[in-house]
Each structure stands twice: as structure tokens, then as C-alpha cells.
């Protein structure tokens, strides 16, 4: 069984946020207006966050902007708190959210140390004719549920179907999330962390590799590569 994971090379990343918009378009995330945005109610499964809040005025920029999707932890803190089993880690390691089961208690948004879960405060709206662009591959979440990054799990289903139809095994490049696919700097890689020959496994062995809040024991499956002069 594959252990799907992502590697984000901060030395390549330019903070352009193509990944952020690609995620929203791919996953039918509704656009927020200025009012909801001001209330902190805009939904975004992937954000750029300042990794180090300190800002320095000097010769070296201390500010780092880090793309932050769900880390799909091996030991996710968000799943045990769910009272209705609406979120759980499935056998392939995805931390999934089952919307019809979610009661909107938001225990999981509180438990997540990466703050990557969003609550639907209102029924999503696409002023006509914007609903025309909705993808048929991803369900539209109703009001009152929590939603989050799925690693574009629907793409795995489609890629598997395709591979099965062609009578061949799934290849590494068959399945990448929308954010990885669009990244202009090629800063994101995706694949099976347990396959030693995969790009992500090779990159995560780099001396530049680190994980966010690893000390909490969450076992994140998103690996970052630090900026810097050295390392492969």
C-alpha cells in the first residue's frame, strides 16, 4: 500500500500562490467576498503562511512564506476528537473528511496544530453563471461542515480507473494533486514516500528536509526542503 506524501522545496518556491488558486478551482471552493474575508471565514485548503513571524530589516530576509496544505499526519490529532467518525485516516494514509457525517462541532479545527481545516459558515454561493465551472469530480460541501485538503484524492480514483482500463499498474506521474501540477517553479513533488525510488522519497532524504511541528509527534507526510546554499 502506498504512503502518499508531498515534498515542497522552499528554495524553488517563489510564493506566487498558483497552488492556492489551483486548489480552490480544482475542489469547488466557493469564492469569498470582502465581508466574509474580513471575518476570517474565507475557505482555503492551502495557504501561504509566514513560517517565521519575525521580520528583520537587514541584509538577509528573515521572512519565509510557506505553502501549508493539510499535512496528512500519520498520527493526526484531528481524528480522535471527532465525535461522529466524520474524519479519519484511511488505509492509504489520507486524512479524509466525510461531509454527510460531519456535525460541524469543529473539535477537529481546534485540534489541528496546523490550522488547515475550514468550517463552512454559510451555504456556498456561485452567482450565476459561475456555477458552470464547478468540477463534477468533487462534491460541493454544504453549510455547517468542516472541509480540508484531500491531496486531490479524486484524482487518485481517476488515475486508478485509467490504469485499470489500460491494463497497467499505476505510475508515479499518473497521480499528482492540482497544486503540484501547476507549480511554475516545480517546487512541489508528490508520490509514494515508502517507495525508495520515488522522487519524494529521494527528496525527503535530503539534508535540507524537515517537517513542520514534528515535535508534536504528528508524523506529517508533507516534507519541506529548506532554503540554503548546501545539500542536494
Amino acid at each position: 500500500m502506498a504512503r502518499w506524501g508531498m515534498v515542497i522545496d522552499l528554495d524553488r518556491c517563489t510564493a506566487c500562490q498558483a497552488c492556492v488558486v489551483a486548489c480552490q478551482v480544482e475542489n469547488n471552493v466557493p469564492p469569498a467576498g470582502s465581508v466574509d474575508a474580513a471575518r476570517g471565514r474565507a475557505i482555503s485548503w492551502l495557504r501561504l503562511v509566514p513560517l517565521d513571524g519575525r521580520e528583520a530589516h537587514g541584509t538577509r530576509p528573515a521572512l519565509r512564506l510557506v505553502p501549508l496544505p493539510c499535512q496528512h499526519c500519520d498520527l493526526p490529532p484531528c481524528t480522535p476528537v471527532c465525535p461522529v467518525y466524520a474524519t479519519q485516516k484511511d488505509e492509504e494514509g489520507f486524512v479524509a473528511q466525510i461531509y454527510p457525517r460531519c456535525i460541524g462541532c469543529r473539535y477537529c479545527t481546534t485540534a489541528c496544530p496546523y490550522t488547515v481545516r475550514d468550517f463552512n459558515w454559510r451555504r456556498p454561493e456561485w452567482p450565476a453563471p459561475m456555477e458552470q465551472s464547478l468540477s463534477p469530480d468533487v462534491s460541493v460541501r454544504p453549510r455547517g461542515v468542516v472541509e480540508k485538503c484531500t491531496f486531490c484524492h479524486h484524482r487518485l480514483q481517476l488515475a486508478r480507473d485509467q490504469a485499470r482500463a489500460e491494463g497497467r499498474p499505476l505510475r508515479e506521474q499518473d497521480y499528482v494533486p492540482a497544486c503540484v501540477q501547476t507549480c511554475p517553479a516545480n517546487a512541489m513533488a508528490f508520490g509514494d514516500l515508502d517507495d525508495p525510488r520515488s522522487t519524494v522519497a529521494r527528496l525527503s532524504r535530503s539534508p535540507r528536509a524537515f517537517r513542520l511541528l514534528e515535535e508534536l509527534g504528528t508524523g506529517p507526510k508533507v516534507v519541506y526542503l529548506s532554503k540554503g546554499e548546501w545539500g542536494a
Binding site: 467576498g33 470582502s34 457525517r101 511554475p184 516545480n186
Partner: protein, 790 residues
């Protein structure tokens, strides 16, 4: 075991059953209303269509996923050499522009006062083109074709602007004015140094050391996806070789955040810093001596044709840019300048980049010339990892222009005086606004606005708003009515790129000639919109037979066939393909062979449409006759031009106004789309408003706290913005983004934020005459919150 979770789950399920079953309260019914009518996007037969994004000038090839008649996804076309299968956030948001609820329903005619969308009523295309065509025919019949002005703005290098410009020339006017001059200063610098007037292309992926002089290399660059892809390779694409990026600017821009080193200079001293570096390189003898000896003119003092002494670069650097003087002017310690000079001269392939900030903000010519000096000193001209000069694709010539009244009209002086009063400029929109109001040298009788919103995105927005009232016929092609369209007489909505066939030529900044092809993805436009190119072909037919002869195509497909047949006859290049195909074509052409993969024009048509287009990936380094067209045949370094423009006086604690263009709203477009509004400044949650970055020391002096409202006042105008107290900007400056503060632009752009272009002093770059976007100083004070803000 019955856990707490399962118990809660049951309880809620039971409550739901009870509520839906009957006797539900209004609140509960409302709660379940959303569950009763879920939004289920319909499925349908799927297909993929190749097209070209035109949300900026980058011209990325895209693949569109169609489900039935709906476009549900736009992704990069992996075979396209600009996008390489990738897209920027603007490109990703393309469907929000396609299905935008505030797109004009169809042609609109103004029936009431200017400035209000409710003054407009629907008209048919036949009425609109009949009336506008008749008016244009009248003006031309009266012998005044020069009185028609065409202004073009952003968007790609597609057929729309090309056909519109040809229409104008055939009609008999030379008044084509380009609103966006982001590439102009760099192009003029290249013209002065190399005799070629074009935006330089950067061979970033082969560079080892990049000195960015306040450039927006990783933001709103000419072709952002192309530049960002090259940056990724520059950093980590070559085993054992990592490019280093040093960024010089008074503000920690997004490009600076990615840099290895941010050198915070005083406002307006990037060029002085660069020449300090150049002085150190020449002083220590670190420049590339063979290259300088062979290719450069102007290093030493010389007598010109009139016998006057012209100072050479060496003496200008030695006298004007001594280390201690540069240190004092820029505020950068001398050892940093020396270290950068030694790194730049010894790093391998080094490249200096001038301060282009986006489609609106070109940077000063002085700073671009200073960057050019550095490149010339290390031989980074037409070399791998250096500055390249793009070649035009070999498209066929179009039918000749009519003579008679057309030729006479074209011979009249331009209204904006570009090329004459200001010889280095190709366009001068701000001067055009003055000329329209002065009705001199003649009256403007019609103004056609193609992707141009000068009432918002010029350096003189208010002058344009006034000037437009003096033009009897103003036609805007804006799909979503923008600020200028609201003042126009007609709005003829242009189609979205997914609604039309198109052909794009090489975007600025890409070194290879390429032709990208687009097929219409949607079977019919979402709104009653038409491609601008088709509208101009139709107008040509309506105005006069000789115009129709100059633009003889019945529709866009006929024009596309003409272009592709000419391209086939040129016998070079290849259809776009994989990295392997690219390497193969490059190898063959390098050895003098042509391996196109097509034989007939019909085959080229089919295969180019299947892959995304045609290109010629072979770059012939060292073709000096092509890239050096100066009188001397060398790179001309003009020591006499290397004096920085005088800085605006620092009166009573005013601050230098630093403008920047965030990629999502660069070029004055993008704020219409909510996904782009939401990502204006990465790392900050609060968006949807204009902010002003102020250094903590300055803020303390002004008594301003973070998130306070502040008023910025220039001699021209004032605006209110939210203060962001941050060390990301030097103490003597206030930084404000350009792109918000529209009146038009639909529900997500209208009345969001403020437009800092209104603050600009009417200062010109003394060397070339472009507006000096960096010369304004503003007074900053606390203010009350603006009306309607949260």
C-alpha cells in the same frame, strides 16, 4: 462499547429525524434547507481543448477540460514552451473571468450620464457596428482619419491588438497609443546600448548569479510562468550548481523574500548601487577584458563627431561613483558593495536585471542603463546565462496599406508627440490626455480602447477622466465594464479567450520565436461577446472597400490559415513538443538541418493545433549582426547618461512613495476575480483593501499603529489606506500596491481599496520621458476609517 462519539452521533441523527419528520421549527428547517438541495455539478461528455491564456501578456499555452458545454478546468499545456504545463494564479483563475456574473450582456450604448452602468442600454451588434462604422466612415471621408485614436493595454500578443493596429493604419491614423509601458524602459536601454528596440529576454536558467535591481522577477514579470520555471531551474535544476539571487530594493518584495540576500537601499538609489558595483569591478580590473575589448564602445573618453570630449564609462565611474560616495547615497556599507562586485565578476554567468515592476511600472531608464553596464562588463550579453534578444516569428506580411487619404492621415504628427517631441518613446498616454483636452495639434474624434483602462491604470487617471469627455466617440472593448468603459459611449464586450480562435506571437521576455494557437473551447460565448479582431475586420468592411482589401479575411479562421501558410513557407522551426523533441530540433538546427515534422501547410495546421503551436527553439548565440545594430557595431556604454535623476526634495518629513504591482492584480486587472483578491499579499490574512507599508520607526514618529487608517497626501491627490507597520520597508518610504481602487470592474473590484496612481506627481524620467513612477513624495497622517470599510 458505546463511546461518547457514537452516542453524540446517534443523538444528532435522532434530532434530525424528528426535525424533518414534522413540527420542525423555522430555524431547524433553515438548517436543513442546505441539505435538501445540494449543488451537484452535472456530468457530460468530456473533451480537452488547447488554448492560450491572455490574462496577462505571458501567453501561456493551456489545456481546457470541457464537460459537456462547460469549461471546468484550465491547466498548463505540457507541450507549450512558455507554460510547460504550469500556470500562475491568474491563469488558474481564468474560469472566474469566463463565468463572471458582471460581464456585459452584449453591446451597450450609453443613454444617460457618464460614469454609471445604469446609463447603458443593450444594443445589437448590427446596430453597434452600423453606427460606429458609419461614424468612422464619416470622419475618414472628411479627410481627418488621424483623428481616430486606438489605445491598447495588457492582454497577450494575440490577434486582437494586431488586427486593431492594422485597422488603424489602414484607416489612416498613426495614433496607436500603448497604455502599458512596463517593458519600455528596459527596451529603450537595449536600444541605446545595442540598437535593438525590444524587451530583453533573460537566460535565467543558465545563470549562476543574479543581481536584481528592484525587479519584480518573481512577481509580475512579462511572462511570469516562463520566468518562474526558469528560476526553479536556476536554483535547483542543475546538479551541484545553485544560482544565487541578490536583490536590491528599499522594500522586501516577494522577489526579495526569495533572494539569498536583500540589500535595502535608500529609495531611488538602485542604479547608483549598481554603478558603485561597476566602479569597483572596473577599479579592480575584474571585468571581462576580452569581451570589453571586442564588443564594447565607450569605456574610455572619446571625442565625438563635433570634436567635443565625451566622458567614457571609466572616468564617469571613477569620478561620480566612488565607493564612499555610493555608500553615502545608497546607505549600503562599502564592504557589501565590494563583496557584491567581486561575487558578480567571478561567479561564472552573472546577470543584472533592471527595475521593471510590472505592466504599469517600467522603472527608471537610469537604473536599467546601470544594469546594462554591469552586464556589458561581465560579458552577459547574448551569452548563456545572460541577456538575449528575441527573434520575431517569420509570419507572412499582410496586404499593403491603402494610400490616398490613409497615407496622408498616417503622415500627420501623432497626438501624443511620441517619437517626435520625446524621440525615445513609442507611446505617451499622459501626453495624449493633454493633447485631447487642448485639441492640439488636432481634435481627437474617436477613441477606441482595447484592453486599456487609462482612467484607472495610467499615470494621470484624473486627466484621462476629463479628456474622455472631449472625445465625441469613445468605444471600449472591456468584457467586464472597467473605469474607462463607464465613461464611454459604447461598450462592445470582447470575448473571453476560451470563446475564440486565436494566434499569439512570442510574449515579451521569451527568447525563442513562437506562435501559439487557440481553438474556441466553448461552442458559444457565455455572453453576447465577440472577439475584438473579428469586430475590427467587420469595421474594415463597413468603413471603406480599401480597408477591406487591407484586411481581406472573412473571419478569424481565414486569418489563421493565412498566417500558418506563411509560417509553413518560412521553412524553419517545428511544432511544439516534448523536451526530447526540443533537444532534437535544437541539435539538428545547430548542425544546419531542418527537421520540422511536417510537410504540407495542412499538416502544420493540424499538428500545431494538436500540440499548441509552432516554435523555433534554436538560439544562435553570438549572432552579433542581429543583436548589435548600433553605428559602431558594439555595445555602446553612454557615460554621459549615467547621472541619476534628481531626487524629489524631502519636504517636512514626507516619505517616498514606493509603488509595486502584486502579481494577482498586476497591470490594473485581476481585482475583478475574487480568488485573486484573496491572495494579494501572501502571509497576510487581511485582504480586500489597500494597505500602506510603513517602517516601525516612522510609524512611531507619526503616531501610527498597525492596522490604523492613514491618509497619504501628495500635491495631486490623497487616499486612505490601512497602515501595515513592518520592517519590510526602509524608514524613508511608504509602499502601496497598485491595482485596487476601481470604480468599475464588477462586484468584487468596485470600491475596494484605493488607486495610488492618482497620487503621482507629473514628473518625467529626464532621460527618456516616461512617467517617473518613483518620484512622488507623500505626507502620511492618521485618518478616520473610509466610508463603507469594516
Amino acid at each position: 462499547m458505546l463511546g461518547r462519539r457514537r452516542f453524540l452521533g446517534w443523538t444528532v441523527g435522532a434530532a434530525a429525524g424528528a426535525a424533518v419528520g414534522g413540527g420542525a421549527s423555522a430555524g431547524l428547517r433553515a438548517l436543513f434547507a442546505s441539505a435538501e438541495s445540494p449543488i451537484v455539478p452535472p456530468r457530460g461528455p468530456e473533451r480537452v481543448v488547447l488554448s492560450v491564456c491572455d490574462l496577462c501578456s505571458g501567453g501561456c499555452g493551456v489545456r481546457v477540460r470541457m464537460v459537456g458545454d462547460r469549461a471546468v478546468r484550465v491547466e498548463g499545456n505540457p507541450l507549450h514552451p512558455v507554460s510547460g504545463g504550469r500556470l500562475c494564479p491568474r491563469g488558474q483563475a481564468a474560469l472566474q473571468a469566463l463565468y463572471h456574473p458582471d460581464r456585459a450582456e452584449g453591446p451597450l450604448r450609453r443613454r444617460g450620464p457618464r460614469g454609471d452602468l445604469s446609463s447603458f442600454v443593450r444594443a445589437t451588434w448590427d446596430e453597434a457596428l452600423g453606427e460606429i462604422g458609419a461614424r468612422l466612415a464619416e470622419i475618414r471621408a472628411a479627410g481627418r482619419p488621424e483623428a481616430v485614436v486606438l489605445m491598447t493595454g495588457g492582454g497577450g500578443a494575440g490577434l486582437g491588438p494586431r488586427v486593431a493596429r492594422r485597422f488603424l493604419s489602414a484607416y489612416g491614423s498613426s495614433n496607436h497609443v500603448a497604455l502599458h509601458r512596463g517593458d519600455e524602459a528596459a527596451a529603450i536601454a537595449l536600444l541605446l546600448a545595442q540598437g535593438v528596440r525590444t524587451a530583453p529576454a533573460l537566460d535565467l536558467q543558465s545563470a549562476d548569479y543574479v543581481l536584481s535591481l528592484g525587479s519584480a522577477l518573481l512577481e509580475a514579470w512579462s511572462a511570469p510562468v516562463h520566468a518562474t520555471r526558469a528560476y526553479g531551474e536556476f536554483r535547483r535544476g542543475r546538479t551541484g550548481r545553485r544560482g544565487k539571487l541578490v536583490h536590491v530594493e528599499p522594500r522586501l518584495s516577494i522577489t526579495a523574500v526569495s533572494a539569498d540576500e536583500w540589500i535595502a537601499v535608500r529609495p531611488g538609489t538602485e542604479g547608483v548601487f549598481a554603478l558603485g558595483v561597476a566602479a569597483a569591478i572596473v577599479g579592480e580590473g575584474l571585468h571581462s577584458k576580452p569581451f570589453v575589448a571586442e564588443r564594447i564602445a565607450g569605456l574610455e573618453d572619446e571625442r565625438d563627431a563635433d570634436g567635443r570630449m565625451r566622458p567614457g564609462l571609466r572616468s564617469v565611474l571613477a569620478q561620480r561613483y566612488r565607493l564612499e560616495q555610493v555608500e553615502a547615497e545608497t546607505g549600503v556599507p562599502g564592504d557589501v558593495i565590494l563583496r557584491v562586485a567581486r561575487e558578480f565578476a567571478s561567479a561564472g554567468a552573472s546577470l543584472a536585471i533592471g527595475p521593471r515592476k510590472g505592466p504599469i511600472l517600467p522603472g527608471r531608464l537610469f537604473d536599467h542603463l546601470a544594469a546594462g553596464v554591469l552586464n556589458a562588463l561581465v560579458g552577459a550579453v547574448d551569452a548563456p546565462g545572460g541577456l538575449l534578444v528575441a527573434d520575431e516569428p517569420p509570419l507572412p506580411a499582410w496586404p499593403p496599406l491603402p494610400g490616398g487619404v490613409s497615407a496622408a492621415g498616417r503622415a500627420r504628427p501623432r497626438l501624443d508627440g511620441a517619437g517626435a517631441e520625446r524621440p525615445l518613446l513609442a507611446s505617451d498616454p499622459e501626453r495624449l490626455a493633454e493633447a485631447i483636452r487642448a485639441r492640439a495639434p488636432y481634435r481627437a474624434e474617436a477613441l477606441l480602447l482595447l484592453d486599456a483602462d487609462p482612467v484607472f491604470a495610467s499615470a494621470a487617471p484624473e486627466a484621462f477622466a476629463a479628456a474622455i469627455e472631449d472625445v465625441p466617440l469613445v468605444v471600449s472593448f472591456a468584457a467586464i465594464p472597467d473605469d474607462t468603459a463607464l465613461l464611454a459611449d459604447w461598450i462592445l464586450p470582447g470575448s473571453h479567450y476560451l470563446e475564440r480562435a486565436d494566434l499569439h506571437t512570442t510574449p515579451a521576455g521569451v527568447p525563442y520565436p513562437l506562435v501559439s494557437l487557440a481553438r474556441p473551447a466553448l461552442p458559444r460565448p457565455v455572453r453576447d461577446a465577440r472577439p475584438a479582431a473579428e469586430v475590427f475586420l467587420e469595421l474594415a468592411r463597413r468603413v471603406a472597400p480599401e480597408l477591406a482589401a487591407a484586411l481581406p479575411w472573412k473571419d478569424l479562421d481565414a486569418l489563421l490559415h493565412w498566417e500558418m501558410e506563411g509560417l509553413h513557407a518560412a521553412r524553419r522551426g517545428a511544432v511544439m513538443g516534448t523536451a526530447f523533441d526540443e533537444a532534437f530540433v535544437r541539435m539538428m538546427e545547430g548542425a544546419g538541418w531542418w527537421a520540422p515534422g511536417y510537410r504540407t501547410a495542412a499538416e502544420l495546421w493540424t499538428r500545431a493545433h494538436e500540440s499548441g503551436g509552432w516554435w523555433d527553439p534554436f538560439y544562435d548565440h553570438g549572432d552579433w549582426r542581429r543583436v548589435l545594430r548600433t553605428a559602431s557595431g558594439r555595445i555602446e556604454l553612454r557615460g554621459d547618461l549615467l547621472a541619476p535623476p534628481p531626487a524629489a526634495p524631502d519636504r517636512d518629513g514626507t516619505l517616498a512613495l514606493l509603488l509595486f504591482e502584486p502579481l494577482p492584480i498586476a497591470g490594473g486587472t485581476g481585482a475583478e476575480l475574487p480568488f485573486l483578491q484573496a491572495i494579494l499579499d501572501p502571509g497576510h490574512e487581511a485582504h480586500w483593501e489597500t494597505w500602506a507599508e510603513i517602517h516601525p520607526d516612522t510609524a512611531a514618529r507619526l503616531g501610527v499603529a498597525d492596522r490604523d487608517w492613514v491618509r497619504l497626501e501628495s500635491p495631486r491627490s490623497s487616499l486612505v489606506a490601512r497602515a501595515r507597520v513592518t520592517a519590510r520597508v526602509v524608514p524613508d518610504a511608504v509602499a502601496v500596491p497598485v491595482g485596487l481602487g476601481k470604480r468599475g470592474g464588477g462586484r468584487w473590484a468596485s470600491n475596494i481599496g484605493a488607486n495610488p496612481l492618482r497620487l503621482l506627481a507629473p514628473t518625467r524620467d529626464p532621460l527618456c520621458g516616461l512617467p517617473d513612477f518613483g518620484a512622488t513624495r507623500v505626507r502620511v497622517m492618521r485618518a478616520r476609517r473610509p466610508n463603507g470599510s469594516a
